[in-house]
Structure formats: C-alpha cells, structure tokens
Amino acid sequence: MKKTLLLLICLIVLPLVFLTWYSVRLEDQQQALLKHQITGLIETQLSEIDQQFQTHFLRLESALNEEARKLEQAKDPSYQLASFRSLIQSSPYVEHLFLIDGDGTTLYPQASSNSRSEQSFLSSTLSLRQNNALFTNNTDTSEILPSPPIAVTNSATPFSAKLRAPAEQQELQISQRSAFADYAAPTAEIAASPTPDSSNASLTAHNNTPVQSGWIAWYNNSRLQHIYWRKDANGNTLGFSLNNARLLSDLINLLPDEQQSKIEANLRNVSLRMINSRGETSYEWGGSDASLQLKPIKTMPLSHPLGSWKLEYRSPGLSQPTSDWLSKVLILITISLSLVTLAWIIYREQSRAARLAEQRVNFVNQVSHELKTPLTNVRMYAEMLEKRIDPQDSKLHRYISVIDNESQRLTRLIENVLSFSRMERSESKLDLQPGKIGDTIHKVVEAFKPSFDQHGIDVKLKDNGQQTVFFDHSCLEQVINNLLSNCEKYASDSQTIEIKYWRALPYSYIEVSDQGPGIPDELRNKIFVPFYRISNKLTDGVSGTGIGLSISKQIAQQHGGDLYLCPSESGACFQLKIKTDSNKGSTS
C-alpha cells in the first residue's frame, strides 16, 4: 500500500516538476528575448534623442558659422571689436566671444577692458585660451578611415543621413573635428569628419578655403560650458562661448512634454530623464510617474559635446511582467489539482480492492483452519477403524484407504493454502530439526503408494543419504508432496517415477523425474508463478489450485536453495536444492 502511495506521489510530482521547470525555462527565454527586443527599441529611442541633440548642435554650428562669416566680412582690415560687442548683446545664444590670433595672443576681450563680465570671462578661460592644441583639427582620423571622398552637394536637406555616422569621438571631451572639404579639395578629408555638415560645406564654398572648427566642452564652476571655435584663413581663432542655460532650455524644448508623452505609445509607460554631469536631473518626461523609484533599465551617455550627460530610461512594466506568470501558474495549479484528484481516486479504489482481497484471504485462511480439525478427526477415526476391521475384508480395506488418501490430499491442499497465506504475510519461519532426509522421502512416498499402485506407477528410490542433517521436516514433506501430487495428476500414465537424493556440501539435492508428457520449454518459468496453470489437453479436467510449485519454490528458497525444472529427454524433471548442514543454525 505504501508503495502505491509513493508511486502515485511520484506520478504527480514528476510531471509537475518537469512542467514547472519547463515553463520557467520557457518564460525565462521569452523574457530574455523580450528584454533583448525592448532593449534594442529603447536604445533606438534614446539614440534618436541623441541624434536630435546632435542636429541641434549642427544647427547652432551653422548659425554660428554664419555669424562668424559676417564678422569676417566686416573686417577692415582687422576685426571690428564693436561688432563683437553688438553680437554678444543681441544674440540669445552667445554669452561671450573671444578672438585669438595666430601667435596665441588674445585680441578680444581686451585685457584692459573694464567690463566686469569680460574680465571674469578672461580669467575663467585663461588656461583654455592658452592651450593651442585645443584649436586644431585632428587630421589623423583621415588616415585611420581611408574612405572614398563623398561628393558635397548643396542639398536641400542640410542634415541628411550622415547624422547616422558612427561618432568615434563620443568619449572625447574635446572634439577634434576635421575640416570641411570644399569643391576643390581632392583629399579624403571629408570622410574623416564624423558629422560633416553640408550647410557648412556650402558655406565654405564661399571662401574656397578649408575651415577648421570644433566644439569644446569644459567645466566652469562644475557646470558644463560649450565653446564653438573656428579658424579663419589668417589663422585667427574665433570662439563663441554659449549661454549654457539657454542651451539646456533649447534641448529641453526638443523633448516632449507630459501631454505629448501620454499620446505617444512608446512614452506612455516610461519615465525618461536627462542627467547632467553632476548627476542631477535636468529634465524629466514620459507618461509614467510610478516608476521614479525604479532602477533605470537603460542608461545611455550622450554624444560629444554633451559627453558627460546621459539619458536614463525607466519603466515599471518591464521589470515585472506578472500577467504571463499568472496564467502559467494557474495552468500548473489546475494540472496538479486534477492529478491529485485522479491519484486520490486510484488510491481509494486500490485500497478498497486490497482490503477486499485481504478479507478473502483471511476468510480462506479461517475456513482452512476450521477444516483442519474435522479432517484430523476423519483421518484418526479412519485409522482406528482400519485397525479394528477384519484384515481379510479387502473391500473394506480399500474403502478405508480411499478415505485415508483423500483426506491426505485434502490435508495437503489445506497445508498449501495456509503456507501460501503465511508466505504472503511473510510469517513463515523455518523449524529446523535433526533428521534423515531419506526418511522423510520414504514417508511421503509411502503415503502416495496406494494411489500410485492404483495407476500402476512404480516409484524408484535412489537414496544414499542417511546422514542426519538439520532441516524443516514439514516443509520438505510439503515440497515432495507437491511434486509427487503433480506426478499423480499430470503424469499418471508414467511407468516409473524416479526419486534421487544426493548430497554435495553444503547442499542436499532431491530430483523427481517422471515419464509423463513433460513441460514445454517456453513455460519453464511460468509454472512457478502463483495461480498459473498450464492450459492444454493434459491439464483440462484436472483440478488444482496453481499454487503448489510456487510455494515449493519459495520453501526451497527459504532453505537457501531453489527448485527448478531440469531439462530432460522425456517427462518432467524437478530438482530441489536445499542448504542442509550437520549443525543447527547454519542454514538461513
């Protein structure tokens, strides 16, 4: 019963474990895939923002180039410093201007200026202006990237696909942008520029000289400041220092507001932040506000000149997708519930059948026990009667021997039934007593004698074992009984039955062979299975319980031996092997 329970539990648990494992794995895979896809989408979304910012810088660049060109045109023959001042005063973007000549001398703002803002600008940018290396373009890149020259056209769309060009200089604090090639330039220089600007290209066409320019991002009082510089044909460097508050304001205006975030599908459930170089939030947008406490799913640094800034992407929907889990867990629960129900039903049926069977066995046991007493009486009185009757009256003797035979048969039957049930309950124990095996065989053969005589069967005893050994007398008796009973039943036309007994330490062997029809080879093992009866012409019509051989085999095995069918030319030949010893207790 316990076994069944264990089996059923296994039956429930194993598929469940497998299913759970499988669904977890599947879910994991799906998650990973989803995450990968989403990360890709997020990256695209963030880099689009970065591109927008880059475009803004390009626009600024072209606007500033325009201003620079105007300042250059106003030269007479040197720059008009008054025009610098009026530019600063009128431009919302430019906070300060500086002009450095080819020797590195700052021409504007003048050191003698009594303007406070100019003086503070001069002192804060002192080291910057003295570092000449900042205002040169890195021509090395053109050697690293020897791509064919790109034709420069005055295209109507100033910011075209080249914005997608990889930004190699993203990590650099100071961009070293290469010159914009003009029409005449035959070199591959233009390809070296990561963000060439065709509006600039058309601009430079006016001058017909390559122009060097670039962005410098630097920190002033831990705030990011931007300077756009440009070299003119005479080697003067013109620097525009931007109003950083205005720049940020413009960048913020490129980003969506809350209303827009709620309309756009890819912003509805997310929260985005622009983080400045000090780790402070500069701007926050997106349709979700519950996600402020979450860790960012993706953080992307912005490209130069906003190199130290980054974008953070948060979303509550991505970190815990519960909806899918719920259905899977539900399915698992349903399956396990139905399995448990099924197992419970099976277990109940099984235990009821087992109980019934036990009751039957008990009943049979009881009945068999009850039968034993009257049977003993029948035999006892038959024996007493035999002694009292006239020895001459052969007819009466025959009657009594029939009674005796039949009651012996009945005894064997009952004995078999009882020992079978004992074996089932594993209750039987060996009762080892000293004795001679030959005597036991004789005794059994004697008992069968009347019946064998009747069938004309001759029993040949080849017995050379007269040693005293320890064995369970009644058990051995029962085995030989069963074997002889089978001979009586199935080999009644056999002429002789040969019983051999020999000893080969530590075993004793008893072989019973008949001349009957024998047992087909394919059934050799089946005959030892309980309740199995060979069904053929021979056995039909002969009554039997089908437990004799199996009990005998078990008894033999209890004796540390075996009972098996020996191959023989004719008839059946059973060999019994039991462990016998001259000393008690050595068999087990």
């Binding site: 919302p92 009594n114 304001s249 913020i252 507001d257 939030t281």
Partner: protein, 445 residues
C-alpha cells in the same frame, strides 16, 4: 528652427527700420527721453561724483488707438505644495486675467511639477471657455521643475513670437526649483537670453517657500515684473495688475547707449544691469509702458573744470521699437554741466527730483548690501549698513526737504529693527527683495 525664426524676425525688424526711416519726422513719438543731472552746477576746480538720471516715459494711450496685441505664456507651478487653495486661486486668477484678453492676443498655459505639461498650446484667445476648462483640469502633484517650465513657456511664445507684440512669460511659483537648474545665476542667464529674443518674464512668488533671489534674477535679466504674494487671495489682484501692465506696453526693445564725454568716467549704474565698457555704457529695457516713467541712474566721475565752464558730460542714444507705428525709433539727447565757484549757485541749481531719485537708488543699493550681509550671518553689519543708509537719507531728506526720502529713512530704520528676528526673516527677506526690485525697476505695482 528657433534660430532661423529669430534671425528672420531680426531681419524683418531691420527692414522695417530702413523702410520707414523717412517717415520718422512725420508722426508723433510714443516715448519721451529726458536726461537730468542731480547737480547741474558743480563746484569748479575739483573732481566730482555726479548722478545722471536718464528717464523714458511712454505716452498716454489714446482711446482710438488699437491696443498692442499680447503673446502671453502663463507658467503655473502645480507641485505638491500648491495643493488646495493656492492652486485654486492661481487657476482662478489666470482664467480671470485671460478673460481680459481679446481675439488678437495669443495665450498659452504651461504647468509643471516634476515634469512639464503644455496645458494650452499657444492659441488665439477666441474661446476662453475651452482655455478655462483646460486650466481647471490642472491638479497639484510632485516636485518643481521650474527651469523646464519656463523653457516650455518661452517655447510656446516662440510659436507666435513677434517683436510687434508684447511677448511675456508669467511665472507663478511657490517653491524651490528642485528638478533641473536651480540657481539664481542659471535662471538669470535664461532670462537674459529670452530678453534678447524680445521676451520678458514676470515672476510671482507665492507664499514663503520660493527662492526670491532666483525669481528676481529671472525677472531682472528679462526686464519683467516681480511680485511677492503672501496670501493666495491676492493673486487675482496681482494678475490684474500684471495684465494691465502687459496691455499698456507702447515700446519694446529699448537699447540705451550712453557715451561719456570730456574725460567723464562711468562708475556704476544703480539698480539695473548694465554693461560698462571704457567710457561707454549700454543697457536695455525690454519695454516701456504707457504713462510709466522708467529711468536709470548713472553715477559718473567728472574731472575738475575751470570756473564758469560748461561741459557736455554724456550723450545718450536710445533705440526702440514703436509698437503703434511698427517701426524703429531713435532718440538722442545730451546733458551739460556748469561749473562755478559760488556755493549758493551750486546749491540753488540742485535738481531736487533727480537727486531724490538718485538717493532712493543709492539707499536701495545699500539695502541690497544689508541683505547680503544678513545672509552671511552678520546681523550687526547689516544693521549698521541700514543705519548708514538712514543717515544718508536723513541728511539728504532734510537738505532737499523731501518727505519721500524721510519716509524711506523711516523704512530703513524699521528694516534694521526687523532684521534681528530670525523667525520672520524668511518673509522679511522676500518683502525686501520685492521692494528692492520694484524700486530698481520702477515697477508700477
């Protein structure tokens, strides 16, 4: 995009200037320029410090004249602290003010907490009910992204930015900016940039939680107004004043260019931001209102002159955009000083009104310094500055027989008293900042 738009605008203005320059003499000017010297006669043979007042006043609007269209962005703080009565009053005040506008005006409403929401994108004021409904839907929540709010508000103005309109952001906040830039300097820079585009920002600080330095800087650099409103019930009134101002603008983009002549050196400009470069001083007013006098006080050093000499001290050029005639105008004037050895002559010539105005600004500067000192924790120092200021005002008030200056003296003494109270300092500081700002910019309310 914005840059292109702006440059186009500037180009247009320039063209108008060129095109209409011939008509210059024909029509009446909308603005009066006056330049006065506090001491028109100075003692000869010694160096002097002198105050020059350059004042500009818009003319009275005539009934028949069509009003100048306004382009207004109202930026409302809806952070958590605005919850309840404050936000309710703010919405009410905004709606009431918008109802004063007409079809030619453009309005936009931006609200902000941690994020920014354009509640009403820039639109013509034709359907005030829809606008009011949108405003009423605003609910308080979150932090204070003030910088981004102003940025988005300015961006709404840019959609219809026109130098012939009054372009103004009206910012209402009750808290400290805590998302995005939050220093007065950064907001001031933003204000400066917006002013260069022709926008001004009026800042209204509500309650005692806002940063008055930030709000005055933002307003100051863009030449907007500033008000401290302690009680939300007063919001409606302040909005009405503000809109009254906006609707009475007569001129914009007022560039003042002062050249000091004959060895005169500029020392400082009182009250307003100005760029002093060599002998030249440049400053800018974003707009002039009808019947409101705006002035700047320039302190100069005059080299010693001979007796009976008359010397031209400064020459002033003013450029502005006349909104009614939609053209650029130019005004020019200069001031001369006489020098004499006679003390009575010097004393008799004193321009009381000008001197009064100058003294008011000088005291105002001292008041600012006192607040700075108090911020550093030096209460005694702050007090002594205020007492010095009171002394100065008292002396001048007596000699000029000016009740206005004596009043200001009493005010300074009272301020000195109230400096000590730590508990009320937050409120007092806001009051002082507001008063200083109003004095310096001659704000009408």
């Amino acid at each position: 995009m914005n840059i292109l738009r702006l440059s186009k605008l500037m180009l247009a203005t320039a063209l108008t200037t060129v095109g209409l320059i011939n008509a210059h003499q024909v029509s009446a000017k909308q603005v009066d320029l006056n330049i006065n010297l506090a001491t028109p006669v100075m003692e000869a043979e010694t160096r002097h410090k002198a105050f020059i007042k350059i004042s500009l006043e818009g003319h009275k609007l005539e009934q028949t004249q069509a009003r100048i269209p306004a382009n207004i962005a109202i930026v409302l703080d809806k952070s958590g602290s605005m919850q309840g009565d404050k936000l309710f009053r703010a919405k009410e005040a905004a709606i009431m003010a918008i109802n004063r506008l007409s079809q030619n005006d453009i309005v936009s409403v931006v609200s902000y907490d941690s994020r920014v929401n354009v509640v009403v994108p820039a639109t013509k004021v034709s359907d005030t009910n829809t606008i009011a409904r949108a405003i009423n839907r605003i609910q308080a929540n979150g932090n204070t992204a003030l910088f981004a709010g102003v940025s988005k508000g300015a961006n709404e103005l840019r959609k219809f930015l026109d130098l012939n309109k009054v372009n103004r952001v009206i910012l209402l906040s009750d808290g400290l900016a805590n998302i995005g830039p939050s220093t007065p300097n950064e907001l001031g820079k933003l204000g400066l940039s917006l002013a260069k585009e022709g926008m001004s920002v009026t800042t209204i600080g509500l309650g005692l939680g806002y940063n008055e330095d930030l709000m005055t800087q933002l307003a100051g650099f863009s030449d907007g107004n500033h008000a401290f409103v302690e009680n939300a019930d007063d919001l409606a009134r302040v909005f009405q004043y503000e809109f009254g101002d906006v609707l009475s603008v007569v001129a914009q983009g007022v560039d003042i260019h002062i050249r000091c002549l004959n060895g005169v050196t500029p020392l400082r400009v009182l009250g307003r931001e100005a760029d002093i470069n060599g002998s030249q001083v440049r400053t800018r007013l974003n707009q002039l209102y009808s019947e409101q006098e705006k002035f700047i006080i320039l302190e100069v050093e005059v080299p010693s002159q001979q007796d009976k000499a008359t010397v031209e001290l400064v020459d002033v050029d003013v450029n502005y955009l006349d909104l009614f005639n939609k053209r650029s105008e130019k005004l020019n004037t200069s001031v001369t000083a006489a020098f004499s050895r006679s003390e009575t002559e010097v004393k008799d010539a004193i321009d009381t009104q000008t001197y009064e105005a100058a003294a008011e600004q000088v005291a105002n500067e001292l008041n600012r310094k006192a607040v700075q000192r108090r911020d550093q924790g030096d209460i005694e120092g702050a007090k002594s500055i205020l007492k010095e200021s009171a002394q100065y005002l008292d002396n001048l008030g007596q000699s000029l027989a000016s009740p206005k200056l004596l009043e200001q003296k009493a005010e300074a003494l009272q301020d000195a008293e109230e400096l000590e109270n730590d508990q009320d300092w937050g409120k007092k500081r806001k009051e002082l900042k507001e008063r200083q700002y109003k004095r310096a910019t001659q704000q009408s309310y």
